[in-house]
Amino acid sequence: MDLLGALENFATECNQNQRLRQMNRDWTRLVELWATDTDLRLWLRSDAGLISAGVGSAADADLKISAREDILREVFSGTITPTEPYNAGDLLVKGRQDDMMRLDIITLLIWGE
């Protein structure tokens, strides 16, 4: 599965999860993902908790995430948690701490123990 496919699946998982819909009901944000090795740019949008994804840059993003494409794909398909590459410095995040934490929590609630 490519990165766009992983993001679209991630969006579907979020949208089908009633608890996540409730948690994110007041969360409207645009997230840009930049694959540093392939220069691929994609976006994730939360519109009051309804998540969508697409290809393209998002200059006015609230949160900007950059990493190698394989790392982004693994994070957004649940193969690895974001903490691992983040702590190793392989995943960089620019934006508000709260938004970063929320994305982390979303991935854990979908794929956690």
Partner: protein, 297 residues
């Protein structure tokens, strides 16, 4: 005299020294805040190692214990590992016993009853207290996601608290601690906006970590009961001015302040030589609890 130092990631503005009497021995307690500087805390603990009887970790938990599982916070482990001779404790050895007993005591003496809604600002770090409230049938809102992560999602059942804890904690404990909890001068900040006032207003009892309570509490708390610790005289004045009916501290009020659980656990380890892993631990904690009962609930 036994010597105990509590090395706290909190602000140095709350530093103090006091002598307490416990199990027939005097203990000199010194609290040293490092203003959120983890490396400074690590160096300080290394310097203290072998020179004092016990070291407390303040402003950070080492272990989060939840429903049979124990999660170790990576940054706290790093601090504890800086000492090789002196025992380092974080208060978790008391939270799972002492704080359960406090809730039971104030139920027994009629201070609280299960009709009173409870807001636990954070329950994953005080699972013993939270579980006791649930056990006695109190309606409990656990605000871990709200106050630690600003996700407006109240946790309403013990089952969901445990499920979320087991999903989130294995990863959360690996994050830099400052991302999880206010450290240093951030402990002195108040949140603006009153976004979560509704949870305070809906509760009769507000329980848990005082830094979360202080950061998010609304201007008025009329008639509320606060169950917490690490309060100063100034904090209790502030709560009184907001209309709080009663402040119950889970640790003794000595020289005007209630100590962190890490301080009491460190003092107990210093005077008894018994640590939380020992078979005599529960009995030792019970003895200390009896001595301090008139100073808390």
């Amino acid at each position: 005299m036994k010597q105990v130092v509590s090395v706290s990631l909190g602000t140095s503005q709350r530093d103090h020294r006091v002598t307490i009497s416990l199990l027939g021995a005097d203990v000199a307690v010194h609290r040293m805040g490092v203003d959120g500087d983890l490396a400074r805390a690590e160096g300080l603990i290394a310097d203290l190692d072998g020179t004092v009887d016990a070291i407390g970790l303040g402003g950070i938990d080492r272990y989060l214990v939840m429903a049979g599982k124990r999660y170790e916070i990576k940054d706290a482990k790093r601090l504890a590992d800086a000492a090789h001779k002196t025992p380092v404790v974080d208060g978790s050895g008391l939270k799972d016993t002492w704080e359960r007993w406090i809730v039971e005591e104030i139920i027994r003496n009629g201070t609280i009853n299960p009709k009173m809604p409870v807001l636990m600002v954070s329950a994953m770090d005080r699972f013993g207290m939270a579980e006791t409230f649930y056990h006695y049938g109190f309606p409990v809102v656990a605000g871990d996601l709200i106050f630690a992560s600003r996700i407006n999602y109240p946790i309403l059942t013990l089952d969901e608290l445990v499920e979320l804890g087991h999903k989130l904690l294995p990863e959360m404990v690996r994050l830099p601690f400052w991302q999880l909890y206010p450290t240093g001068d951030r402990q002195l900040e108040s949140a603006e906006g009153g976004a979560y006032d509704e949870y305070f207003h809906a509760a009769d009892i507000i329980a848990g970590d005082f830094h979360f309570i202080k950061r998010y509490m609304p201007q008025r708390l009329d008639g509320k009961i606060i169950l917490t610790n690490t309060t100063t005289q100034e904090d209790r004045e502030s709560l009184k001015n907001r209309g709080v009916r009663l402040v119950v501290t889970t640790t003794p009020v000595l020289s005007g302040r209630s100590f962190g659980t890490n301080v009491i656990e460190a003092a107990l380890v210093a005077v008894s030589g018994v640590t939380a892993g020992c078979s005599e631990w529960i009995e030792t904690v019970k003895k200390a609890r009896r001595e301090f009962s008139h100073l808390t609930a």
